[in-house]
């Protein structure tokens, strides 16, 4: 199976005011129709990873390495990613306002994309857009076509943004925290929508989030990022049931769920992620790791493959054993 998206040794640096490395040598691959979730907290570099892939980094950012989409290199000079953006690759932002132009009607925005990306005449683009608004289950597609973004609620705006992302029939959908800004009751609906659409349109999904609940529902594979690197990657069910990296285990343990209603203290990971730009020798998670030993302070662990998963840890958790 040839990879739809292949990321090799991707490194993202910011040059001003000081040199800060946000992403440090990431390798990832995604096949057609596959769904991969990148999980991490603030400072993990997950958003910068996504932005680098589509050429949307800030002016002082520099991406090196290789990102190939359908065999074509996206990290070239100039704006090499531009042809893929919006056509092969669709983008859904955390804040729907990011993709919807505030001063134009939603219908106009959808029609414009359909005409530009798929070369349709206007009439056909109009019908397609109306149909798409129905596909994203907006209650009144007709009036939504004529509405401005600020006239819709947050959940409805996000659905319209998804419709916009799909208007060009991309093969790959990038989603950056698509449900984080939404109410919890609306989150579930939008998640279900993404699930159905990816299936119906045969799209691959690269999802970036900090929410493990979203990941569990949507993704087939998970890559966990910490301080710019991937620390663990594997099949969703496997990883969530038997995390190998102590950070993954800690993250899972600190998710507040209703299933355990004890009065005791919550499990947490002490300390905080390293600040951007801090150079660390050895494992970056070491200061907070309950399993750390001398070797961890000195030598940074490398991502090693074992079966269908990879983990970057000198002393990973064994399957079936608690930390």
């Amino acid at each position: 199976m040839s990879a739809l998206l292949e990321i090799r040794a991707l490194t993202v640096d910011f040059l001003a005011p000081r040199v800060v490395r946000a992403v440090d040598g990431v390798d990832l691959a995604l096949g057609p129709r596959e769904r991969l979730a990148i999980v991490g907290e603030s400072g993990s570099g997950k958003t910068q990873l996504l932005l680098a892939c589509t050429g949307l980094l800030a002016a002082n950012g520099r991406a090196t390495g290789s990102v190939r989409f359908e065999g074509r290199e996206l990290l070239g000079p100039g704006d090499a990613a531009a042809p893929a953006r919006g056509r092969g690759i669709g983008f859904v932002f955390q804040d729907a306002g990011g993709s919807l132009t505030p001063h134009r009607r939603i219908g106009d925005q959808l029609i414009e994309v359909a005409m530009a990306a798929r070369g349709m005449p206007k009439r056909q683009a109009c019908d397609e857009s109306l149909a798409m608004l129905g596909r994203v289950r907006l209650p009144d597609p007709g009036s939504t076509m004529n509405a401005y973004p600020h006239e819709l609620s947050g959940g409805m705006r996000q659905r319209a943004a998804i419709a916009l992302a799909l208007a060009a029939r991309p093969r790959l959908l990038f989603a950056d925290e698509p449900t984080s800004a939404l109410d919890v009751t609306v989150q579930a609906e939008v998640m279900a929508l993404l699930d159905a659409l990816c299936r119906d349109f045969g799209m691959a999904l690269l999802l970036v989030t900090h929410d493990l609940g979203v990941v569990a529902a949507l993704a087939g594979r998970i890559a966990v990022m910490y301080a710019g690197r991937i620390v663990e990657e594997g099949d969703t069910d496997e990883l969530l049931a038997n995390p190998a990296h102590p950070y993954t285990a800690g993250l899972l343990a600190s998710v507040l769920s209703l299933s355990a209603l004890e009065d005791g203290e919550l499990a947490t990971i002490p300390g905080a992620p390293p600040r951007a730009g801090e150079t660390i020798q050895g494992c970056r998670f070491e200061p907070r790791c309950p399993r750390r030993r001398e070797r961890c302070r000195v030598e940074g662990p490398r991502l090693e493959a074992g079966g269908t998963s990879r983990v970057a840890c000198h002393y990973p958790l064994d399957a079936g054993r608690s930390p």
């Binding site: 947050g154 989150q187 998640m191 279900a192 507040l256 905080a272």
Partner: protein, 329 residues
């Protein structure tokens, strides 16, 4: 019950363009005993933050009353309210926004002392700031930093230190962990629980995350569109809720277990988002309710006692003696 805080039929209104007003809080009654922690849960726009702010006098009530230790405070002139500030405090949602960017954290923490304990010597003040930092688990060095040099978790701890430094008796925590990373949320929740226990604080804990509220609060109020729709003890809310909205909230909490998560996806109802101001007379939840009757659209249910220590605002509340389970139809 020795109620230290009492809110009666409080309403907060905001003016929209063209003379319309919207009721952010629409007739809320609640009370808090000394040292009790009560959770207020609801989604964005339901008015819970407005209620918290109204109690603390940051926002004016359109109608209703607030009583603190038996004394009416909602209509107090500014100067008299200030004298009470030492007794009631607030922990803010956005730790980055609630600090003056031009003051160090230690200076910000010391501010309430300067305002409310003006006679205190500088040295005494410094001692109290340092012990506040210790109590919330912050290094003294962090006190010398500016807000933009500290992480979200550190800032939130500093916010708690600032609230505690005047030794209040009541604290409103307005979404204190929503803006934090998952791995840091637990730290702050633990800190709040410990601090509350050690100081015997009464606490109103506001959040949209039912899982967090269920951790901390003994009694939970569920709020929807400015009204309280259910009040019950924690176990009852989680295991035997009687209001459809509470059921919906419970079902929507994301679960990191793949089996459960996928079941949630399959079960989610594709209801459309509610329209604003849908029908002034009926139940505000009618347009989203899977158990709706014709009656629900014409008459708004009142919050009434349904079982032991449980209040529900639903016409059909009595139909489910064991509460609403996901399978109930």
């Amino acid at each position: 019950m020795n109620a230290v805080l009492e809110v009666r039929e409080a309403a907060v209104r905001y003016a929209l363009a063209r003379g319309r007003t919207i009721a952010a809080v629409d007739g809320v009654t609640l009370s808090l005993a000394e040292g009790e922690i009560v959770g207020l849960v609801g989604e964005s726009g339901c008015g819970k933050s407005s209620l918290g702010r109204a109690i603390l006098g940051l926002v004016r009530l359109a109608s209703g009353q607030v009583f603190w230790k038996g004394r009416r405070i909602d209509s107090l002139p500014r100067r008299e309210f200030r004298a009470l500030r030492g007794e009631m405090q607030l922990v803010f949602q956005d730790p980055h926004a609630c600090f003056d960017p031009r003051m160090t954290l230690a200076e910000s923490i010391a501010e309430p002392l300067r305002a409310l304990a003006a006679g205190l010597q500088e040295s005494a003040r410094t001692v109290r700031v340092e012990s506040a930092l210790d109590e919330v688990g912050l290094d003294r060095e962090i006190g010398t930093r500016y807000p933009h040099q500290a992480s979200g978790g550190q800032l939130q701890r500093a916010g708690i230190a600032r609230a505690l430094i005047v030794a209040p008796q009541f604290m409103v925590c307005d979404e204190p962990v929503s803006a934090l990373d998952v791995s840091v949320q637990g730290q702050i929740v633990n800190l709040l629980a410990r601090v509350r226990r050690e100081h015997g604080l009464a606490c109103l804990f506001i959040s949209h995350n039912l899982a967090v509220v269920a951790r901390l609060a003994e009694r939970i109020l569920v709020m929807y569109r400015g009204r309280i729709v259910e009040v019950a003890a924690r176990e009852t809310i989680v295991r035997a809720p009687r209001h459809p909205y509470t059921r919906l909230l419970l079902d929507s909490v994301p679960d990191p277990h793949p089996q459960a998560a996928r079941k949630l996806l399959a079960a989610v109802r594709e209801s459309s988002a509610p329209l604003a101001d849908a029908g002034a007379d009926g139940c505000p939840f009618a347009s989203r309710c899977p158990w709706v009757l014709a009656r629900c659209r014409t008459s708004a249910p009142l919050l009434r006692p349904v079982a032991d220590q449980q209040l529900v605002a639903c016409h059909r509340a009595e139909e489910w003696p064991k509460g609403l389970t996901p399978a109930a139809t």
